[in-house]
Amino acid sequence: MNIDWPWPWLERNLDDIAEATGQHLYLALLPVLVGLVISVPLGWAASRWRLARGILVPLAGVLYTIPSLALITLVPLALGTKIIDPLNVQVPLAIYTIALLVRSVSDALRAVPGDVIAAATAIGYRPVRQFLSVELPLAVPVIIAGLRVAVVSAMSLTAVGALVGIGGLGQLITEGFLRNNGVELVVAIVLIVVIALLIDALLLLAGRVITPWTRAGRGVKA
């Protein structure tokens, strides 16, 4: 495999690379978002009822250990989707995200102090509003931590999706192999890693911005 000076190749293929990047982000992030939206009510149920927790938490643990390739090949069988349908990758990604977040959300909600919940009820919150404006915000730091793991693994798992023929940066990796094009291979890998780190950093930052109270430690009395 030869790795030439990359500029000429890059210049010729900029459009394709950009398209693959966009596709990669779409393939990876949409399922994480869907997974997040589904994990919150599931995590809430698990935090609230022992029975729900007894089922959801172990189930999430098992799902997370299924190898990604197995899941990607099983999904078309289960859903009846075509072999190159993006859903074949996105559904497993959503499942991994849920598996990862249900437990985080449940633990975070259970960690909200009883005093705070009793005070919110005593003040006259109705249950839904109380959940959205007291319990969920307090769970945000833990949820963000889980989300960061979910996003980074989704970025690399999406690359695996290229093996079953869906697009994204993973496709550049397989193409690079087939055409013996080292530049293409390296560019794709670097992009995946850099973008994953970037999103991770963005999430970290966003988490800090929306949870200013977590940094209001006892030491900063003015």
């Binding site: 005093d115 005070a119 003040i123 006259g124 509003r129 007291v134 200013p212 109270w213």
Partner: protein, 378 residues
């Protein structure tokens, strides 16, 4: 008015937390629920705002069965202060206080300006408005808790051991503040504590519970000290209750005798002539007491009575006189006498000027008079 009518609470596991409670909480008063741990105080309190529903019996709020009210709406009209304040960690102090007005549909600006007023009322500097609860001391957090409970100006205030987690000095401060607030606001307050001293200090009426959720006695603090209903109450009220009961008898009209005074800066020889039983009170220009001087002490002073070298006095006892002042209690009078180095308690008027002295004998004979006239139950 809050009326408990044959209220019983049995938890699913069979624990009877409250056992057929009949009790009326009067408007504009502080009613204290006191009793050992697990006697059902919190359960009783939480049944008032429907955080817990009774197994049987009825609770009326201003004559209306609380079961007819929508719980969240009922609760917005009842302030609640919880043991560890239970502040929202993710909201600033100001926004914590503004929570209830916001919930009731008041716009954000009005709610915040109301919150700022409340912070001032409970003695929190406005510089704390932007802090998060984690940046406050325990006592400050409790103040925020009180401000939050008062923000919607509810007629009823429920307080569950609000001051039990702070140190004694801060607790005393918070208690004084509550009494001051209450004298301005006239709320109907139900206050839960396991501390009998706190109950006696704050309560207009005190309900003593025994384990098993039964009401042992419901009375004024003085009646509780003077006439405990049974052995449980008398042992719960504790030692020194006779002495503490003196705190509820005003010393109005107690005979105040002469007391020897000398002025700071007087010559020691003149001061020596003024001593009675070897002691005199040294006073300043306004006749306010500075301390005691004895014959021994005078012999160490050569030019004038030196205010640096005085024996510090005991507690003072205020009398009502033409110069104003409210008469203290017999307990104040007795304490003044007992804590004085000369065995004479210094009586002062509203301006703090010395008007005379009281001895322990005088106080005790005043007590005997009060007894025989039936002011003190046997």
């Amino acid at each position: 008015m809050i009326e408990f009518q044959a209220v019983t609470k049995r938890y699913p596991d069979g624990t009877v937390a409250v056992d057929s409670l009949d009790l009326t909480v009067e408007d504009g008063r502080i009613t204290v629920f006191v009793g050992p741990s697990g006697c059902g105080k919190t359960t009783s309190l939480r049944m008032i705002n429907r955080m817990i529903d009774p197994t049987s019996g009825t609770i009326l709020l201003n004559g209306k069965d609380i079961r007819e009210s929508d719980p969240p709406l009922l609760r917005r009209g009842i302030g609640y202060v919880i043991q560890h304040a239970g502040l929202f960690p993710h909201r600033t102090v100001l926004d914590n206080v503004a929570t209830v007005p916001l919930l009731s549909g008041v716009d954000k600006r009005t709610a915040r300006s109301r919150a700022a007023e409340l912070m001032e009322l409970v003695g929190l500097p406005s510089t704390m408005a932007k802090r998060y609860p984690a940046q406050l001391s325990g006592g400050q957090q409790q103040r925020v808790g009180v401000a939050r409970a008062l923000a919607a100006d509810p007629p009823v205030l429920l307080m569950d051991e609000p001051f039990s987690a702070v140190d004694p000095i801060v607790r005393d401060d918070l208690q004084q503040q509550l009494l001051r607030l209450q004298s301005e606001l006239d709320k109907t307050i139900v206050f839960v504590t396991h501390d009998i001293d706190e109950a006696i200090k704050l309560g207009d009426r005190v309900a003593v519970f025994r384990v098993g959720g039964r009401l042992a006695q419901y009375d004024s603090p003085s009646a509780l000290l003077a006439k405990p209903a049974d052995d449980f109450v008398s042992s719960f009220v504790g030692r020194d209750r006779g002495y503490r009961a003196l705190g509820f008898l005003t010393a109005t009209g107690i005979p105040v005798g002469e007391v020897a005074t000398v002025r700071a800066g007087d010559a020691p020889e003149r001061a020596r002539e003024a001593l009675v039983d070897g002691w005199a009170v040294v006073v300043d220009e306004q006749n306010r007491p500075l301390g005691w001087v004895s014959a021994d002490l005078l012999s160490t002073m050569d030019k004038s009575v030196d205010t640096e070298a005085l024996v510090s006095g005991g507690s003072l006892f205020e009398v009502d006189s033409s110069a104003g002042g409210t008469a203290g209690s017999l307990r104040n009078a007795l304490d003044a006498a007992l804590s004085s180095p000369a065995a004479v308690g210094i009586a002062v008027d509203g301006t703090g000027a010395v008007v005379g002295g009281v001895t322990a004998d005088t106080v005790l004979s005043a007590l005997a008079d009060a007894r025989s006239s039936g002011e003190v139950p046997g």
